[in-house]
Structure formats: C-alpha cells, structure tokens
C-alpha cells in the first residue's frame, strides 16, 4: 500500500511582477481592477508533472539542488499548499517538520506552547498530557519548561518544536532539512528517533542536502531537478547520478569563469595593442599591469615589475619575489612574504614571450576542471615567442582557495637551462598523481627571465576542483593505507 501517492502534480506559483509588491485597495478601487489584481500575471512552475509513490513503511529521501522544488513537494504532501493540477494522496496522520516551533507564542510558557502546538499538529489535549513528560525529556528542557518561550535560545526553541512534532506519533513524517537543530548529541537522538519510526513501520519523507544521510538512512531516493523528477529508486544509484550531474554543472561553471577571464585578457590585450609593446609602454598607466621600471616605486596599485620596490609593498602583486612561484629563491628570502589573501588576480608582463592558453587535462585526456584526488593530471601551456629568445623560465604555482601555497616550481629551479624558444609551442607539466585533498584550487602560470623579469604572468586566473570520496583535512593527501595488529580490530564499512 502506498502511504504517499503523488500523481502528475504541477505546482505553479504566482508572480506579481507589475505590482511593486502588494496591491493597495485604494488603487484597486480607483482603477476598478479588484478582480484583475487577484489574478497573477506571471507564473512560475515549481513542479511540473511530478509523480512518485512512497510505500507505507518506507523512508524516502528527496534530493536536488537549491530551487529544484524539494520543499514545494514536501509542502504539497503536507497539505500546506494545494497542487495546481494533479493529485496528492496521503494515508494516515501527517506530521511535518518543516519549521520547528512554528506557532509558538513567545509570551506564554513552554508548557502551554507544547499543549497548543500538539493540538495544532492534531493531538487531543489528553494525548498531549500523556506524552508531555516524554516530550520535555526529549527536548532536554526540564528546567525551563515553565519559562516563557521568548526567553529561550534558538536551540531550545527548535529542540522543543522538534520534540513536539516527533511525539505526535504520525503515520507519515515529513522532514525538511531540520536536523541541524542541536548539538551532536541531539542530532543523534533525532536520528535514533527516526530509526525507531522506521522500525515501527512509519513512512518518512526526508528532504535534505546531506547525501550521506540519504544513503545511510533511506530505502529509496527521489531526485528533483528544476521541478521535474530526474531519478528515483535505489539511493546509491540516484545519489551517484546526482553527484555526476552536480559535477558537470560545476565543470560548466568553472569553464564559464575561465572564459570570462580570457575575455578580460583579450580586452586588456586590445588596449595594449594600441601602444608599443614592451618596456616602452612602461609609463602608460596604472591600469596597465606592464613592466614598468620607471613606475617602480610609484604606486601600490601598479602591479608592475619593480626590482627597486621588490621588498617594499606587500600589496604590490608585481613580481615581488613571493612565496608562490619562486623565480629567484635567493631573493625570495629577503623579500616580504606576500599575503596571498590580498593577491590580485590578473595578468601582466612584457609579452615578449606569451602564454596563449592554459589547459588542464585529466586521465581521460580531455580538458577538465574537476579531478579526482590522486588522478594523473597535466597542465598544458600554449606559448608563443614573438622573437627568438634564449632567456626564459616557465613556472607554475598551486594555491588552495584560502591562499595557501600548495606547490610552486619552475624550470629554472629544476635545473633546465633555456637555450631557445621560437614561434609557437607547448609546455606541459605532468603530475603523476594529484595528491590534494577535496577542495578548490587556483593556478599561477608564468614565463619570465632568469632574473625574474616577467614576460607573461597569469596570477590566480585558473581554478580547478579536486574531488575525493573521503573528506580529510589539510592540503596534501599522501598515498596511504592503514594496517592494524591482530589485537586492534576495525572493520571497513
């Protein structure tokens, strides 16, 4: 038997774009538009043709991105809103944990609120009285139950709300992202309570972003995407499909961000193209992040190459020998260590040698922005020398999102001596195993003279993401394994 039956449900929300926010009666009467104002002129489908069933006694997790219609679906099942078309059938008493403590009156005591809230949720007064002690104990509120609710902390408020809702003893429990209510202990208690519900054959519909909870806890999962069902069934399978989709859209987003960065660069190139290339353009403007010995000490905003100012300004994102790509290790020590959080993204340099493109490739050989931890990755730099040149160093720096240098190297440090570069070419850094923990990382790439004079410096312009099934902390994820002596017993779950 199905406890929840949702058949071909569409929910259209009204949007009142023309009216500023609310109509006024005065204007409605003056314009004679009373009836018209009650009609929406724009609609927004939150759910479109959604159908799903949850059999009695099953636990179903609803997942999906923000704005996918999860909460709307839950509200429809709860009966708070009505579907525009389609039918929703629920068998048995419902308790909806959508907003905890909704309907608590701040002025009266917790005790009275428990009673009223219980009655609101469908209990009789006697039923509440019978469960009262249990509710208070569950909420851990014994000492405060007679104080007015307005004196409660938000945690106490939520705990009490949760305790009442869960003790309504519903046949169908609807939960909307409310587990982040209390401390660890309380969360465990809530999960235990859910477990108890499951054992007693109650039906649970759970809306959450905590995928691990769905995987561990639910018999089935429902994946909503832009108001439509994208997947339903076995939680592992649905979550897997969902994660792949999320990854794809993240990939798209990073690609878009990079495209924007390229556009920006193209624009700057356009500006540059107007003037003569190289040192002669030095004084052309503060916005021009060009090599500018003359402007060296002139301004902190000028991200120019400035040997004289090398150690002078921390905010100068020029080639001040920084902790990132160590162009000249001997000088780096005497230089001020640049604060990465203040580092400015951008590109500068004289462009005698140019980095024309940066591509990251994963194991598949395809350009990508998301990699698995431990994946084989290569960083491809397209380079172009406008004149044959024999003094050049290629460097690469990796930064975590919070600005910590994860790794920096260049060809000079690794004892490659430059002989000649001519025309177009490609420089590839192969990383056999990208041993970083889960997170977002940024990339610096540069080509410069041995003494640090920058030809083309790309600062934090490239972003990639590392995914890992395990969520360790730190930056570096060494290849590792655990072993235990026979007296220490652990089981891999």
């Amino acid at each position: 038997m199905n406890a929840i039956e949702v058949v071909n449900v569409t929910k259209v929300y009204r949007r009142y774009a023309r009216r500023k926010q609310f109509a006024t009666l005065k204007s409605a009467l003056l314009k004679g538009s009373l009836i018209q104002d009650l009609q929406p002129e724009e609609t927004f489908p939150a759910l479109q043709g959604v159908s799903f069933n949850v059999a009695a006694g099953r636990t179903c997790g609803v997942i999906g991105r923000n704005g996918s219609g999860k909460s709307t679906a839950l509200k429809l099942v709860a009966g708070i809103t009505k579907p525009t078309t389609g039918t929703v059938k629920v068998a048995g008493r419902i308790s909806a944990l959508i907003e905890l403590g909704a309907g608590f009156h701040p002025e009266i005591s917790g005790r009275e609120n428990v009673f009223i809230n219980g009655i609101m949720l469908g209990l009789t007064k006697r039923e509440v009285a019978r469960r009262f002690d249990e509710i208070v104990e569950f909420a851990e509120m014994q000492d405060f139950i007679d104080a007015p609710v307005k004196t409660y902390s938000s945690g106490m408020y939520m705990r009490l709300g949760f305790a009442v809702a869960i003790h309504v003893d519903p046949d169908v429990l609807l939960v909307d992202e409310v587990l982040a209510v209390g401390d660890e202990g309380f969360t465990h208690k809530c999960l235990d309570k859910f477990g108890e519900f499951k054992r007693r054959g109650k039906t649970i519909l759970l809306v959450t972003h905590a995928l691990s909870l769905v995987e561990r806890f639910c018999d089935e999962a429902l994946w909503l995407d832009s108001g439509k069902v994208r997947g339903a069934g076995d939680p592992k399978r649905v979550i897997g499909a969902y994660l792949i989709d999320v990854e794809r859209s993240e990939e798209r987003e990073l690609a878009r961000a990079e495209a924007r960065a390229h556009d920006q660069m193209a624009k700057e190139d356009g500006v540059r193209g107007a003037g003569p290339r190289g040192p002669a353009a030095a004084g052309s403007g503060e916005q021009d992040p060009a090599y500018a010995p003359a402007a060296a000490g002139s301004g902190e905003q000028d991200p120019a190459y400035a040997p004289a100012a090398a150690g002078s300004g921390e905010q100068d994102p020029a080639y001040a020998p920084d902790g990132g790509v160590r162009l000249q290790p001997d000088r780096a020590t005497e230089a001020a260590v640049e604060d990465m959080t203040q580092a400015v993204e951008g590109r500068w340099g004289s462009r005698e040698i140019e980095i024309t493109g940066v591509t990251l490739k994963g194991e598949s050989g395809e350009a990508a922005h998301i990699f698995q931890s431990g994946e084989r990755v290569s960083i491809h730099l397209g380079v172009r020398a406008h004149e044959p040149n024999n003094d050049f160093v290629f460097g690469i720096g990796l930064y975590s999102a919070d600005g910590v240098t994860c790794y920096g190297t260049n060809t000079h440090l690794e004892d490659y001596r430059s002989d000649e570069i001519r025309g177009d070419g490609e420089v590839v850094l192969h990383i056999d195993s990208l041993d970083l923990v889960d997170g977002t990382y940024k990339l610096d790439v540069a080509v410069h003279k041995r003494d640090g004079y920058p030809y083309d410096y790309h600062r934090l312009l490239y972003t990639f993401r590392v995914k890992s099934r395990t969520k360790e902390t730190g930056i570096y994820r060494p290849r590792h394994s655990w072993t235990f002596s026979p007296t220490v017993k652990l089981k891999k779950v």
Binding site: A23, T24, L38, I80, A96, E99, E107
Partner: protein
C-alpha cells in the same frame, strides 16, 4: 466549501486552546493582568461620559437619564466588534508562520480573534450588571432572554466580516490602515452615544442600513429602556442577513485560501 465547514467543528479543541492562549498572552507581564478586561471598558466609559454628559451635553440629555448606563449598553458590544475587526484584518499576516509552515486551517485565526474579544466582552458584563443594579434599570425577564440572541447575531456578523477582512488584507495590505478610520466613522454612524429616535428623519434610512444600529438598539432596549423589546423583527432580519453574509464570507475565504500560503 461545505466539507471545510464541516471540518471546522473538528477544530473545536484547537480554537478553545488558542483563545485561551490569546487571553493569557495578552495580559502576560502587565500588573493588573485579567483585570484589564474590566478596566478598559470602564476607562472608555469614563471618557465618553465626561465628554458627552458634562463637556458638551447633547440637547436630548434629559430624555436619556443615567446617560452613563445608556452609553455603556452600546459601548461594550461596540468595543468587542471593533477590536475583532481591527485585529482580524491583520491576523493572517501576523500568523503567517502557521499558514506557511504547518497544515493549519487558516479560518481559525480570525475566528479565534473574534472569540477572544467575545471573552473580553463577557468579562466586562459584570461591570454592566453592577451599573444596572446601581441605576436600578427596568429589567424584565422576557427581555433578557433576547440578550444571548443579540450576542449570537453580533458574533455571526463579526465572524463574517472578520473572515472577509482577513482574507482581503492578505492581498491588499492597506485595508488595515483604512479600517482604523472606517471604524471611527462607523462608530459615530451608530446610535451609541446618541439616542436613535433623535436622529434627523432624513438620515434614519441610512441609520437603518447600518447593521450595528440594530444591535445597539437591541442592547439598549433590552437593558436600558423601559418597555418591551420592540426591535426583535429587525434583529431577526439582521440575524438572517448575517447568516447569508457568513456563507458568502466563508465562500470568499475558501476561494482565496490557497493563495494565503504564498502571499503572506
């Protein structure tokens, strides 16, 4: 609609506890607590008696001896009526949390507001009784049996208007601002501070169109004026009218119900 109306009876317990909560919460933290239910109408009465019996006494004051008692007969029910409408016009918005987050029959909120104010009205009755005894009012049992009927008609009328106002205010937020002024006008358009018989004949028909006129006259005839309760035909007509209004109000409320969760 009829089904929803039928369900309404299931929520008796909820309505009961919400009314109790409303009353408890209102005077929580005030020194006099529940006594405000007595003092409020008394203070109001003092003000009006002072103004209309001493500062600017109407010409017909001799026709209505014990002016304070006359005033009180109309003022007490009016306070109930006015507070019900003003409070319920905003009730769906202030109770938005309930409508949006809990499966909750929204019509309970205006109904609870009217009922909570009914309780205040009933709590004010002992003062009225004290007045009646003090002024040695000409009470008759045959008249007094009509008293609950008047209260019932007023209840029906108040609930109907409260339903309409609360539902419309969700969509037209300025109703509650307009309403404050409308209620002042309505008060003076009702024979509460003046004797209806002395109203100029020209405006009598308009006075008769005002439903609260008939309630006020009923209260006054039952409690204040000697002689029988002659206004019963009007009262029953008003009762029938209020019932039709209630059906309309509930229909309107029911039609707009689904928009509440999205609009408040």
């Amino acid at each position: 609609m009829l089904e929803n109306l039928r369900h309404l009876s299931r929520y008796r317990g909820l309505i009961q506890s919400l009314v109790a909560r409303e009353l408890k919460a209102r005077y929580r933290g005030s020194v006099l607590g529940f006594f405000w239910s007595f003092f409020n109408p008394l203070l109001l009465l003092t003000v009006y008696t002072f103004v209309f019996a001493y500062v600017m006494p109407p010409a017909q004051l001799s026709e209505i001896p014990n002016f304070a008692l006359f005033l009180f007969c109309g003022l007490l029910p009016w306070t109930w009526f006015q507070a019900s409408l003003v409070e319920s016009s905003n009730i769906l918005i202030s109770g938005g949390n309930l409508i949006k987050k809990v499966m909750f029959p929204a019509e309970i909120l205006p109904i609870v507001t009217v009922l909570a104010n009914l309780v205040h009205f009933l709590l004010g009755l002992p003062i009225l009784v004290a007045f009646l005894i003090y002024f040695d009012a000409p009470l008759q049992v045959s008249e007094l049996v009509w008293f609950p009927v008047v209260v019932l008609v007023q209840l029906l009328l108040s609930v109907s208007l409260a339903l309409i106002l609360s539902a419309l205010t969700v969509h037209f937020r300025d109703i509650k601002d307009i309403l404050a002024n409308v209620m002042t006008l309505w008060f003076f358009a009702t024979p509460i501070i003046y004797y209806w018989k002395f109203a100029p004949p020209r405006i009598r028909p308009f006075l008769n169109l005002n439903p609260f006129t008939h309630l006020a006259i009923s209260y006054q005839q039952i409690l204040y004026f000697p002689g029988g309760f002659e206004h019963w035909k009007w009262l029953l007509a008003l009762g029938a009218g209020s019932f039709l209004l209630f059906l309309f109000a509930y229909f309107l409320f029911d039609r707009l119900r689904d928009t509440f969760a999205e609009e408040v």
